[in-house]
Symmetry: C2
Subunit: 222 residues, 2 copies
DNA sequence: AGCGATAACCTAACCCTGTTCAGGGAGGTC
DNA sequence: GACCTCCCTGAACAGGGTTAGGTTATCGCT
């Protein structure tokens, strides 16, 4: 209960036994995630601070991670599985495919807002040149596949227009990402309308926009 | 045409005359914007590099900007006016309020992708504690006001459902921001569907979702 | 013309950062 | 006990943002 977690002199930590070198790796990831959450800003947490929190010297970090960016990314990436599971649970909590989609959207936003640092690192801070595609090829692709299936189920039930499910799912994703990321990155005093009303509206527009037979025939552009 | 723009020894620059101290400020902003675009990453451009590009020493920068973040933000903020004007022009290029909204959406995404660094700084990199609200209270609020009016016009023409125009405009904004920001920050090899088809779909869903009398009655969610 | 005031800028340094290189010390094996 | 190997340090490098204090050029004024 009273473990000294915030600081630890190097040497404090008990050296890992032989063959248990990976133990330090996990401790580093734990500390990194914790510090990122506390600082509410990945750039503000220093490698030295992470090392100190673990009770180890900075170079030890580089025995397990190529650079800081990879470490931070991996620390945040671990939330990805939980992210997917949370959304799936929300989606499975109801039978109606439409309501299921709505709950998925709400769960997505809620999870993002509950883990803004991880969400930011995963979805908002990719720079050209950097390539964390493995993350999106793994847990990300799986999670996206779940969304596609949810959309497809609604289509099969005749509740949504038959468009390309992948395009529809991508559009749904970008919509919920839009509000999530803006809620995270806009200044605290940004003049948002009522949040719940806005979220309801956004999900509503998605569902309506994907539904059958709207009155306005959306003709081609140009 | 052959001005040495990339480097300049301090002292190279001719000292501004009395009362023209603000000249350096503009030169700094120009250099900062140029370097950010070249580096495609705001964090990668150093104050020292900006100073050198202008032909001045680093401390001179702090005579005009409180810190690096403020400098970079202001350099990117200057695009905001142009952003608004571009969207307005696109929206005014057609009479039909619905098609006008669609063109606004497309113009928004296009502008964001043409100025990804500025877009990122303005809309994707706000951290809690940082407060650039003046930007959104100025050009941002004006631009958003234009969008609200465009939505209201479509409602007045009986083409959109009568919901709160501010909520509808906010939802529209978050939608186009969603795809814009993800196209900017996802890895280059991310498996996007066809971009044009996706953008058309997204605008389509927004329009349909805001239109009158969809078949599915979207009941309240708990 | 000369002088002081002051705006405009520079010199030098501080402290912190990510990262590297070479070395030391504990655990297990013979 | 000797040795080897894995786990980790000590010390340093190169570069970053930022600051305290000094220097220079310009301009109004006499």
């Amino acid at each position: 209960m009273s473990r000294a977690r915030t600081t630890a002199r190097p040497g404090t930590r008990q050296r890992a036994r032989r063959g248990e070198g990976e133990k330090l790796r996990e401790e580093i990831l734990d500390a990194a995630e914790r510090l990122v959450v506390e600082a509410r800003n990945p750039d503000a947490v220093a490698i030295r601070a992470i090392a100190e929190a673990v009770g180890v010297t900075p170079p030890s970090i580089y025995l397990h991670f190529p650079d800081k960016e990879a470490l931070i990314f991996e620390a945040c990436e671990r939330r990805f599985e939980e992210f997917d599971a949370t959304i799936e649970a929300a989606g499975d909590s109801v039978d109606d495919p439409i309501e299921s989609l709505r709950r998925r959207g709400r769960a997505y936003v809620q999870f993002g807002l509950e883990h803004p640092e991880a969400y930011r690192v995963l979805f908002m801070t990719g720079y050209p040149g950097r390539d964390p595609s493995h993350a999106f090829a793994g847990a990300g692709a799986r999670s996206f596949g779940h969304l596609v299936e949810a959309v497809r189920r609604a289509m099969d039930a005749g509740l949504l227009r038959r468009v390309d499910p992948v395009v529809a799912a991508t559009g749904f994703w970008t919509a919920v990402h839009g509000i999530t990321s803006l809620l995270i990155s806009m200044p605290d005093n940004f003049p948002w309308p009522d949040r719940d009303a806005l979220l309801d509206h956004i999900c509503d527009v998605q569902i309506r926009g994907l539904s059958e037979t709207s009155t306005t025939d959306t003709g081609g552009s140009t």
